[in-house]
Symmetry: D2
Subunit: 275 residues, 4 copies
C-alpha cells in the first residue's frame, strides 16, 4: 500500500504520520521524505506492507496533519491511459508491448491519432484506434473531438506519444497534470519544432529527450525524466532523428513508470520524484 502526503512543513510531521501507522501495526517497507526549504513544503511517500484494510486511515492521517495536507492512500492501483499519436511509432509500440505483457503498470484503453498510420499496430494488439476526422487546422473542433474520444475512456492519464499537434491551454486545463508528453530534446535546449535540425546546426555532442507534464506553456511543464546520448560530427539530422527515437522511447517509458508507480509529486512547475 502506498501513502502520498504533501503539506506545509512543520516540526513533528514524520512523528505524527508514523505514529498513526504504528498504532495500526502497519510495517513501513519504504519511506521517502523531502522538504523544500525555500517553499517550506513537505512531501512524503510511504510504502507499507499489505495487511488488513484500514478503512479510516486517510481520515486519521488528515486529523494529525495541517489543514492544507493532501493525503492519498493507495491511489488507484491499476491506472487507465489513453495514448495520442501522429505517425511515429516508436513510443506507441513500446507502450503497446508493455501493455500486452502487463508490465506497463496501467492499461491502455485506446489510441487516438489524426493519421491512420498506426491503426494497424493497434489492431494487432486489440486496442481501439480512433482517427480524428476533423482537420487539426480547425483547432476548436479538433480538440473537441479529441476530448470526446478521450472522455469515454475515463483515463487517469493522457500520454502524448509523439503527438505532433499543440494542445490549447483550454484543452490542457481540462486535464491538469494528467497529460504526459515526450519532447524530442533535452529541454530547455531546442524547445519547439525541429530540435534535431537545430541540434545538427549547433553542432552539439549530445542529444536528449524530456518527459514532462503538459501545462499552458509549450514545452515548459514540470519535468519527469531526461536523458541524453552522445552524437558525433558524423551524425546527420536523419541520424540524430534515428538515435533520438531510442532515447525518446526510453525516457517516456521511465517517466510513465515513475508516474504510474505513484513516485511523483508536482509542486509549482517542478516535480519531486521518489525513485
Amino acid at each position: 500500500m502506498i501513502i502520498l502526503i504533501q503539506c506545509r512543513d512543520q516540526v513533528g510531521l514524520v512523528a505524527a504520520i508514523s505514529g498513526v501507522l504504528a498504532a495500526e501495526q502497519m510495517n513501513i517497507v519504504s519511506l521517502r521524505e523531502y522538504v523544500d526549504k525555500q517553499a517550506n513544503h513537505f512531501f512524503m511517500r510511504v510504502e507499507v506492507e499489505e495487511g488488513e484494510e484500514v478503512p479510516e486511515l486517510q481520515q486519521r492521517l488528515q486529523q494529525v496533519l495541517p489543514p492544507d495536507a493532501v493525503v492519498q492512500v493507495n491511489p488507484q492501483p491499476q491506472k487507465r491511459i489513453v495514448v495520442l499519436v501522429t505517425k511515429e511509432y516508436h513510443c506507441l509500440a513500446d507502450i503497446l508491448i508493455r501493455n500486452y505483457f502487463q508490465s506497463l503498470g496501467a492499461t491502455v484503453q485506446a489510441v487516438i491519432g489524426h493519421y491512420d498510420t498506426l491503426e494497424d499496430i493497434c489492431r494487432r494488439f486489440d486496442i481501439p484506434f480512433h482517427k480524428i476526422e476533423v482537420p487539426s487546422s480547425s483547432r476548436v473542433l479538433f480538440e473537441q473531438q479529441v476530448e470526446d474520444l478521450v472522455r469515454q475512456y475515463e483515463p487517469d492519464y493522457i500520454v502524448l506519444a509523439k503527438f505532433m499537434r499543440i494542445l490549447s491551454p483550454e484543452f490542457v486545463a481540462k486535464f491538469p497534470m494528467r497529460i504526459i508528453n515526450i519532447h524530442h530534446s533535452f529541454l530547455p535546449a531546442f524547445a519547439g519544432a525541429q530540435p534535431y535540425k537545430q541540434a545538427f546546426e549547433r553542432g552539439v555532442k549530445l542529444i536528449g529527450a524530456t518527459a514532462h507534464f503538459v501545462t499552458d506553456h509549450l514545452d515548459e511543464g514540470p519535468i519527469l525524466s531526461q536523458q541524453i546520448i552522445p552524437v558525433s560530427h558524423s551524425a546527420t539530422t536523419a541520424d540524430m532523428v534515428k538515435a533520438g527515437k531510442e532515447i525518446e522511447t526510453a525516457v517516456l517509458a521511465r517517466g510513465l513508470r515513475l508516474v504510474l508507480e505513484d513516485r511523483v509529486f508536482v509542486y509549482g512547475n517542478k516535480t519531486v520524484v521518489f525513485e
Copy 2:
C-alpha cells in the same frame, strides 16, 4: 546534525525515532530509510536542522529502540584520513587538491608510500610524506611500519589511493571498515592484478572502477561506488590504463564523499548508501 541508526526491524521504529525528535522540536531536513526484508534489518539516516545541543539525544533514542540498535548522533564532523600510495599520482593528487581547497570533507593527515615518487607533490601541499623503509617482501615488518606510521595520526579512515600492495587479514582486522580502496576494475570482473591487460585480451567494450571497503578477502569487500567508461577496439592496454585513471579518480572521489558525509552503512558484505 546527522543521526544514523541501524537495528533489527520491527513495527513502529520510525514513529519512535521521529517522536523523540519532535519532542525536542527538532526539524527534519532529510530522512532516508531502508529495510532489508531478507535480513529483517532497519537503516535510517536523518538530517535535522542545527539547533541547541541536545545532550542526551543518543540515550533517548537508544531507550525507544531495540537493544541491538546502533545509534550515532552527529558523527565526528571533520574526519581525519591517511593516504597510502605506491607510484601512481592521479587519485592522490585529486585528494590533495580537494584537501587544499577544503572541499574533501576531511583533512589529510599524512601520505605513506613505499617509493618516494610522490613525496614532492605532498611537500608542495605541506602534507607529511613517510616512506616505508622496510621492503614489502618482509610483510610482517612492512605492515608493522605502516601501522606505526598510520596510528600516530589517529585517522578515521585509511585510503588506499592506488596502493599496489596487498594488506594481510591481520592488518585489515585492526581497522575494520576503515580502509577504503580503489580497484582498477568493475568488480567482480577482472579481480586481482593487471585488470586492464585482462580487459584488453577479453575485448570488452567498457572498463570500470570500484571503490570499496577492504576486508580479508582480496577485492571482495563491501562496494561503495562503481562507474564505467566505454572503450573501443582501438584502445591498447596503455590507452585503457590512461582512461582508467580518469574513472578511478572519479569513483574514489565519489566513494570517499559518500563515506565522509556519513551516507554509508555497512551490513554483511554490502553497503546501504543514502545519497
Copy 3:
C-alpha cells in the same frame, strides 16, 4: 555500397585500395581503418556513394591486396534472421517491432522456442513460430530439431533473444560467428546462470548486459556491445531482473544494428567495430 577488407598489414594498403576506387570514379563517403599492431592485421570499412555497378570490383581489389585478404563488396543488403527464445519477451518483442516497422535492417524469418509462451506475440506479427517438441534434456535430438528448423529459413544470423539453453560446441560450429547472444550481465562478471542473484549478493552498484557472438566457450565469445545501469542497495533481485530487461533489450538492439550494418569484424576472440 559497403566494402569490408581485412588482411595482414603492410605499407601501401590504403593507397592500393583507394587507388582502385578512384580509378572507378567512386566517391568515398566514409572510411574507417584500424591496424592491430600486435597481430599485424589490417581492417578497413569503406562506404562509397551508389553509382553504376562495378562488376569486377572485388577481383580488382583482391589483385592489389596480399593473398590472405578477405574482401567483401556490398554484403547482402537485407539480412535474414531467425530468433531463438525461451519465455522472456522483452528482446523478442523489440525485434518484432523493429521488423514490423522495417527499421531492423533485417527480416525476421521465424521464431523458435521450447515453450509456447511467445507464440501469440509472433502470430500477431504474422511471424512463423515453431515449438521445439523434443525436450532439451535430449540434447542431440533437441539441437537436431533446432538445426532443421533454422536451416529451412537459410538465415544469415541466429539471434538468441533470451534463449536459456546452452548450445553444444557441435551446434555452434555449424554456424560460426553467425549466432548472436544477449547475456544478462556485464561479462566477464557473473558469467553463467543467475547473474542478478550473484549481483545482488555481491552488492554491486551497477548491472549490465553484453551482446556477443557465441563460440564454444560459454559466455566467452567476441563481444559486440555492453552497457550498464546503476542500481542501489534497495534493489532486490527481482528489481535487478526488471531493470536488467531494459538494458538487455537496448544492448542486443545495438549489437544487432552493428552487425546488420556491416560494422563488425571478428578477429581472434575480439571484434573490431566501426561505428
Copy 4:
C-alpha cells in the same frame, strides 16, 4: 607523426594522399576520414609510424591536393597554453596537476587572473601567476593588459578555466580558434550567467557542461565536448554548483585533450572530432 588535411571534397583524395605516404614507405597506424556532404568538404587525420624525417612531405601532399587544401604535418608536438581564471579552482587545479605530472599534452606557461585567490596554488607548482590590475570595468584597458600578459608567453591556446569575464569580439578576433572555454551548462540550454540557478528553477533532471572554442557570439562557438550528470529534486542550487564543478572539470579536460592531441578540425561553427 600526425597529418591533418582539409579541403573541398572530390573523388580520389584518399588515393592521392595515401599514394604519397606509400611512396615514402610510411606505415599508416590510424586513418580517420569524414566528408561533410552538405558543405562538400573533406577532412582527414592520419597517424603514421615515426620514421626518417620526410622534409618535403607537406609540399608533396599539397601538390596532389586541390589548391584550397590545408595540410598540417606533425603540428607542434608540445603545445604551450596560458590559463585565465577568476576565483574557482577546480578546472585550474586539474590542469596544474596534469601539467606537473606531464600528462597534459601541453605545458602551462602562466596563469592570469583578476583576483589573487589562485595565486598560491600556482606558486606551489612554480607556475607564474599574473594579477590583472586594471578593473574589468575598464574593458579596453583590461583586455589590453590580458593581451600583453598572454602574448609574452606565445601560447598555442588560451584556456578560460572558469574565467568569469566576457571577452570582447576584438580580443577574440586576435586569437581565432585558439581560446577554449568551459561553460557551466549543457549548451544551448541556460546560456549566459547563473545557469545553475536557471536549472534549479526549471527543475531539470540533468545538468551539464560544454567545452567550446570562443567566438564573437557569447556561448555560441564550436563545441568540443559536452557531458551531463543526473540531479534530483533534492539538489539545491548550491548542490548543483558543487556537482557542476565535477562535470566542468571532466569536460574541459576532455576538450583540451582532443585539441592538444590534434583531433579537432573547426569548420563553420562546428567541429569535426576524430577520437
